[in-house]
Symmetry: C2
Subunit: 451 residues, 2 copies
C-alpha cells in the first residue's frame, strides 16, 4: 500500500538541493492523500518546501487531510496572505473543521482576512452544534431551477461544476430556495435536451435538518445508497449537502467512539495519537476510579461472609473463576445488544423477544460452564459437595450475568441514554457484587456453614 | 424515520381487498429500502401480493435488501420462471450474495435457468474467496476505449448507462481490456466534444485485484474518497468495480465483527437476529469454556497461597478489587491499541512509542488507583500495613495490566494474527493470574506471613 515511500530518498535530496522544479515534477502526479502521508514523514522546514511547489488547490486538499496541530504548525510558516489563499481554496466543511480546532485567537485573525462571503459561509457552519448535519455539510452543491430545460441545466453544470463538491446529484429549488426535487446527472444525461427539470426530477427528497445529528445523515446515506444528502433549514430551504465520502469517515469515528465507551474510556477525540496525552489519561482514569470505589461493595460483602470464608478457605479459590465467567458472559450479551441497537437492527420494541432469547441462551451456556466448573472443583479439591456448590454458583451467575448484560443496555436506551456507556467494566462490577452474594448463599445452604 | 408505517393499515386493507391497482399506486413512489422494511412487517402471503404489483426491476432491488432466509422463502412463492426473471434483474454482486447463502441444490436449479452469459457472470463472482474484492464487485461498469472522442463517449454512456451500477466514474481500457486510465463523468461533461478520452483521463489508477481482501478496497475508497474502485485480474484486465455504497455496509460489518471478537464472540454472521440461534450460542460458548478452564490456574495459585490466606482472611476481600482494576485497565489499553491498528492510525513500526506512552500512563493511573485502594482498605479494616499491601498491589497490577493490554495486540499483529481476537476477556484472564501472584508476593513481604 505504501508505494510512495520509494520516493522519499529522492524527495529529501531534491528538497536539500532546493531543486524546486524537480520536486514539482515528482509531486505533480501523486494523490493528495499520499502527499499528506509523505508530508508527515518530513521535518517541518522540509514540509514547507514540499508544499510550496504544489498548486494552491492541491495544497488546500493536502491540508484538509492533515491533523489540526500539523495544519496549525504549517500555517505558521506561511505568510498571512498565503495562509488566507490556502484556506480559501479548501472546501467550506474542511475549513470549518480546521478552524474548529485552531486556537480562538488565530481563528479570529484568519477570519478577518477572508472576503465577506467566505467569512459568512464559514461562520454559518461554525454556528451549528457539534456533530450536527450543519457542521459537516458543504455549501458547494449544484442547485437547479425547476423550470429550466435539460440543456440549460447541463450548461449551468458545466459553468459552475468545477467548484462544486459533487455534480452527480443536483437539487431542484423553487424561487424561495425551498427544496422541491432531486435529479441525478445520470437522469439529465439520459433525458431529452428540451425536457424540463420538473419533468425528470423526483419530487420525493429525503432531507435532514441542519440541527439533526450527523448519525442520522449517515444512516440515511447508508440505507438508501445516496451519493449526497440535502440539508435544509427550519423553513425547508436548501442550505447545503452532505457527501458520502464524509460519511465514511463519520461512520469510522462513531464506531471508534463506541469501542472506547465500551472499554470505559471517555474521550472527545477518537484518534489515538491525536488525543492529547493528559486528556486521554483523564478520560481513562475517571471511570476506573469509580469502578475501584464500587469494588468496595464486593469487599464489604466478602467481609460479611468472613466466617464462612475462614471455615472453608477453599471457597476463595473459585472467586476469580466465578467473577470471570459472570463478567465475560455479561460483556458478550451487552456487546451483542449494544451493537445491534447501534446498527439499527434491533429496536426497543423487540425488548421482549431479546430478553427471552438471552434468558434461554444464558441458561444453556450456564449449564455448560457450571458442569465444567463442577469438574474443575473436583479436580482441584476432590470434594463433591464443594464441586456442586461451585457448579451451581457458576451456572446461576452466568444465567444472571447474561440477563444483566442484555437488560442494562435496553434500559439505558429506554431512558434515552447512550447504551454504549454500559461498558463491559460497569456490567462486570454489577455482576461481581451479585455473583459473590449468590455464591456464598448457595455455599451456606449446601455446605451447611455458619455466617 | 419510520414514516412509511402510517401506510401500513391502508396497505393491509388494499391487500385484503385484492385492490392491486390501488396497491400499485401506493407502493410506486416508495423507496425500495422502505418497501423492504414494510415487507418484513407483513405475513408471507401478503408479502407475495405486495411484491407482485411492483415492476420487476423494483422487485429485484427490494430483494437485494432482504435477508437470505426471507429471500429464499419468498422465492418459493414464485414460479420458477418468475424467480428467474427477478434474479436476472438483480445486480450481479447482490445476486452472488443471495446465491451464496441459498442451499446448494436450489442454487444449482436456479443457475440452470439463467442464460449462459448471466450464468457465467455469477459463476465468476462465486468462485472468488469469501470477503475478497472479486466477491463484492459488480460487472456492470462503463468502460471506454482510450481513442474515442468525448462526444462518442457521452453517446456510449447514454446507450449503456441505464443498466450500469454507476456512470460517474468510467474506466479506459486498451484493446486487450487492460485497465489504462480513469475518467469521471464530470471531466467528460467539462471537456470539449472532440477531445480524446486519452487526453482527459488520468493514467494513474488505483486498483485492487480480485483476490485482495475487501477491507483493502474499503480502506482505499475511504482514503481517496473514490465513488468506485476498479478490480483487475492477474493480468491487469478490468473485470469489475466496487462501489462506495457497498463499502458503507462492509465497514459496518467489519466494525461489528471486531466488537464481537473483542467480547470473545466468534460469529460468521454479523447481525443479531440473522445469526441462527444455535450457531450464535456455539460461537459464544467456545471462548467462555476456554476462559473457565484457564481460571483453574488462578484457583491453583490461590490454593498455593492458602496458608497466607487463612492466616489473614481479609486478604480475600480485595481480590475482586484487584482483579477488576487490572482487567479494566487492560481492556482500556487493548481497545485503544486494537482500534488504532484497525483504522490504520497506528502501525507496527510505532510499537516503541506506544509502549513508552502506555508504560507512563499505566504508572500514573496505577498511582491514583493504588492510593484510592489504600484508603478503601484502611476504611474497611483500620489496618495500615494491610492498606499499604493493597495499595502497592493495585498500583503494580494496574501498571502491569496496562502494559499487557498494550503489548498483546501488538504481538498478535506482529505474528500476523488479527489483534481483535485479543479480547478483553483473554487479557483479563492473563492479568488475573499475574495479579494474584503479585498480590500475595507483596503481602508475604509486607505482612510477614508464612506461605
Amino acid at each position: 500500500m505504501e508505494w510512495y515511500k520509494i520516493f522519499t530518498p529522492e524527495l529529501k535530496e531534491l528538497i536539500e538541493s532546493k531543486n524546486l522544479k524537480g520536486l514539482s515534477l515528482l509531486l505533480k502526479d501523486i494523490h493528495p492523500a499520499d502527499i499528506a502521508d509523505i508530508i508527515r514523514t518530513l521535518e517541518p522546514t522540509e514540509r514547507v518546501i514540499a508544499l510550496r511547489v504544489l498548486k494552491k488547490t492541491k495544497i488546500a486538499e493536502v491540508f484538509s487531510l492533515l491533523d489540526p496541530e500539523e495544519e496549525e504548525e504549517l500555517l505558521g510558516y506561511f505568510t498571512e496572505r498565503r495562509a488566507k489563499v490556502i484556506l480559501l481554496e479548501m472546501n467550506p466543511d474542511d475549513r470549518t473543521q480546521l478552524l474548529d480546532e485552531l486556537p480562538a485567537s488565530l481563528v479570529k485573525k484568519l477570519l478577518k482576512l477572508f472576503p465577506l462571503e467566505e467569512r459568512e459561509e464559514t461562520n454559518i457552519l461554525l454556528n451549528y452544534p457539534p456533530e450536527s448535519a450543519g457542521r459537516i455539510m458543504t455549501t458547494e452543491y449544484v442547485d437547479l431551477g425547476t423550470e429550466i430545460t435539460v440543456s440549460d441545466a447541463l450548461e449551468h453544470i458545466r459553468e459552475t461544476g468545477p467548484d462544486r463538491e459533487t455534480i452527480y446529484t443536483c437539487y431542484a429549488i423553487n424561487k424561495n430556495r425551498k427544496l422541491c426535487g432531486v435529479v441525478s446527472l445520470k437522469d439529465i444525461i439520459l433525458a431529452k435536451p428540451d425536457q424540463k427539470i420538473s419533468d425528470i426530477m423526483s419530487g420525493k427528497v429525503y432531507r435532514v435538518h441542519t440541527t439533526d445529528d450527523q448519525e442520522e445523515a449517515a444512516k440515511a446515506i447508508q440505507k438508501y445508497d445516496f451519493l449526497s444528502l440535502p440539508v435544509v433549514d427550519s423553513e425547508d430551504r436548501l442550505v447545503g449537502i452532505i457527501t458520502v465520502d464524509d460519511i465514511l469517515d463519520i461512520m469510522e469515528e462513531e464506531a471508534t467512539e463506541d469501542f472506547h465507551k465500551m472499554a470505559a474510556i471517555q474521550l472527545s477525540e477518537e484518534r489515538y495519537f491525536r488525543a492529547g496525552y493528559f486528556k486521554q489519561l483523564s478520560g481513562r482514569v475517571g471511570w476506573l476510579f469509580v469502578l475501584v470505589l464500587a469494588s468496595t461493595i464486593s469487599g464489604k460483602i466478602l467481609q460479611k461472609y468472613s466466617v464462612a470464608l475462614s471455615s472453608i478457605i477453599a471457597l476463595a479459590y473459585f472467586i476469580p473463576m466465578l467473577m470471570g465467567a459472570g463478567g465475560n458472559i455479561g460483556s458478550q450479551s451487552s456487546t451483542l445488544v449494544i451493537r445491534a441497537l447501534a446498527t439499527g437492527e434491533l429496536t426497543l420494541k423487540q425488548w421482549w423477544k431479546v430478553l427471552v432469547r438471552e434468558a434461554c441462551a444464558g441458561f444453556v451456556i450456564g449449564a455448560v460452564l457450571g458442569t465444567t466448573a463442577f469438574f474443575i472443583a473436583i479436580f482441584l479439591l476432590h470434594n463433591t459437595l464443594l464441586g456442586v456448590t461451585v457448579g451451581i454458583s457458576v451456572a446461576t451467575v452466568v444465567t444472571v450475568g447474561n440477563l444483566a448484560g442484555t437488560a442494562t443496555p435496553l434500559i439505558f436506551s429506554y431512558l434515552r441514554l447512550d447504551p454504549a456507556i454500559v461498558s463491559a467494566p460497569l456490567i462486570t462490577t454489577i455482576i461481581d457484587v451479585t455473583g459473590i452474594i449468590i455464591y456464598f448463599e448457595i455455599a451456606r445452604r449446601i455446605l451447611n456453614i455458619p455466617t
